[in-house]
Amino acid sequence: MSDDFVLKTEDLTKHYGGVHALEGANFELRKGEHVAIMGDNGAGKSTFVRQITGVEQRTRGKVWLYNEDVHFAGPLEAREHGVETVFQTLALADDLDVPDNLFLGRERTFADWLGPFRLLDYKSMRQSTIDALNRTGVKIPNIRNTIRNMSGGQRQCVAIARTATFHSKLTIMDEPTAALGVQETAQVENIIRTLKEEGEPLILISHNMRQVMDLVDRIVVFRRGRICANLKKEETNGEDVVAYITGAKTQPEYEEVA
């Protein structure tokens, strides 16, 4: 059983000076599973993600990625291990087009002996971009358009398509639809469903209850730096989740820590 864990954390803890932002988080994600992380502002959701992706260094605890004990020095190393993050602030270069952004920092090249002046393989990158967009169902009329000329939804789609292009082992999305309109949100949700069908594991941070109920298999609730509930979607409902978020309820197995 133990080998179908995508991600497992044990006693993951982060203190900022005297502030206990994250305390003893035990979290599991299995293959093909989509899990939502919910909780109030300051509950430790983003802190939790930052420890996994190596943006910050944890105070203590362990993280396993596919049963490998990992300790990422930075987001780059996490990315090399297949952990792709779609950040709240989109990490896209506005003046570059879609393939450029998808392959930024890992361009396909030839004549590598030229060092920093090695040549870009535009043709292959363009083809892979079109394949990736087709696979995720992202529709962008012209991939040669610069990001600057795109709508918020399209930008978000490009950011998500980037995770799909590289067959990431784990995708983390931090409020991907917070800044989007209704139609654009629907588009992003469709892509998430496609990822589910493809069996790509996902951690979704969201405040949107309908979205979470719609998309994921399991909901993990954070409260004041601790995990206070681990709920299967079928066994819960919106009201129940809200009760956990606000502190009206705590699951018995988390009782002693909360």
């Binding site: 780059l76 270069a93 920093p116 870009l120 079109i130 009329p141 012209n142 991939i143």
Partner: protein, 357 residues
């Protein structure tokens, strides 16, 4: 942008859908400026029907006024070489003010390794070093000059990238340091009497040859290499570039180094052209180089612009300088007009960007 805001429509890779390139606007502006000078020349009574562009004398070899065209290009070629580097720096959302004094400092240093032993049978009166530095192969002064530029650029880049000093301040400091080096090198005395092979580097139309070759090389580099792509990425969104795994700091140092090496090479060409090096050389070159890039459609906030644009910007400046002389307005008007055009170029660019967004 109605066609892109809806999430509908198939995936396309359609070359015809690419937006109107900015470079064409500059080319258009260039043509309009030439036409204006041509009209003034043909109509203003004191001009006696001279032509700006065409050869009015009845000769068979050419319809163009080749002499004027040569002067226009020659005037901007050396500053143009600097502008190629400044363009790359500005694309990373930086600025390089040190290039003008760097031209002077490099000219002094390179010239010291390019002197001849005997001038008209007498020992070189301007000799800086002993006999060991006389009549060296031409490669020595060029390599020494460009290497000096690389060091200055590496210092600039290190201050900007690793010590996080604003580029304006870091390169302003280097501006003064380089001018100081140029004055200190020979106690303010000019360095002269280079070898024949050194003189060749900047003789005749050679500065234009260097400018064109370097412009083509760097246009290709910016368009088709990882270096170019990362330069644009850093200027567009430095944070995104960093998150994507680009070594932003190292890349910035490389960009500043290349810019300073180009400025240093311009110093070599300039000293070769005049067969002398003086500490006061290259005054305002850094500003003209920035002006060329700005007229060429570069954005000072980074991420946008191209080498072709800068070349066209250089041509605009050359045409205006030559045109003002042609309509017999002196240098003071040229400066005022040039200032106006630079501001107009930025205003137009901002207006265009706002309309787009």
């Amino acid at each position: 942008m109605a066609d892109t805001s809806q999430g509908t429509g198939g995936l396309t890779f359609d070359k015809s859908k690419r937006s109107w390139p900015n470079e064409l606007n500059i080319l258009l502006a260039l043509v309009i400026i030439i036409v204006i000078f041509e009209i003034i020349g043909q109509t203003a009574p004191y001009m006696r029907g001279q032509s700006f562009l065409f050869d009015t004398r009845d000769r068979f070899d050419s319809i163009f006024n080749e002499a004027r065209l040569q002067i226009i290009i020659l005037q901007v070629a050396i500053i143009g070489i600097i502008a190629l580097g400044v363009t790359q720096v500005i694309i990373t959302a930086g600025i390089d003010l040190s290039s003008g004094p760097l031209v002077a400092a490099t000219a002094m240093i390179a010239m010291s390794f390019a002197q001849t032993e005997l001038v008209n049978g007498n020992p070189n009166p301007k000799a800086i070093f002993g006999l060991w530095a006389m009549d060296l192969p031409v490669i020595v002064p060029v390599v020494v000059g460009v290497a000096f530029g690389a060091v200055i650029g590496a210092v600039n880049g290190t201050f900007v990238a690793f010590l996080r000093i604003p580029p304006f301040i870091a390169t302003l400091g280097m501006f003064l340091i380089c001018r100081g080096i140029a004055l200190w090198w020979s106690n303010g005395q000019p360095v002269s009497f280079p070898t024949e092979s050194y003189k060749f580097i900047g003789s005749g139309m050679m500065p234009v040859v260097w400018f064109v070759i370097l412009a083509i090389i760097f246009q290709l580099i910016m368009s088709f290499t990882v270096y170019g792509k990362h330069t644009y990425a850093i200027g567009s969104n430095e944070e995104a570039a960093r998150m994507s795994g680009i070594n932003v700091k190292r890349h910035k140092v490389l960009v500043y180094m290349i810019a300073s090496m180009l400025a240093a090479f311009a110093g070599v060409v300039l000293s070769s052209k005049g067969a002398t090096a003086q500490a006061g050389m290259g005054e305002f070159y850094e500003l003209f180089a920035i002006a060329m890039a700005v007229i060429g459609g570069i954005s000072l906030t980074g991420g946008r612009g191209s080498i072709i644009g800068t070349v066209l910007g250089a041509m605009v400046i050359g045409v205006i300088r030559s045109g003002f002389t042609y309509v017999k307005l002196d240098g003071s008007y040229q400066l005022m007009a040039m200032g106006g055009i630079i501001i107009a170029a930025v205003v137009l660019d901002q207006y265009r960007q706002r309309n787009k967004a």
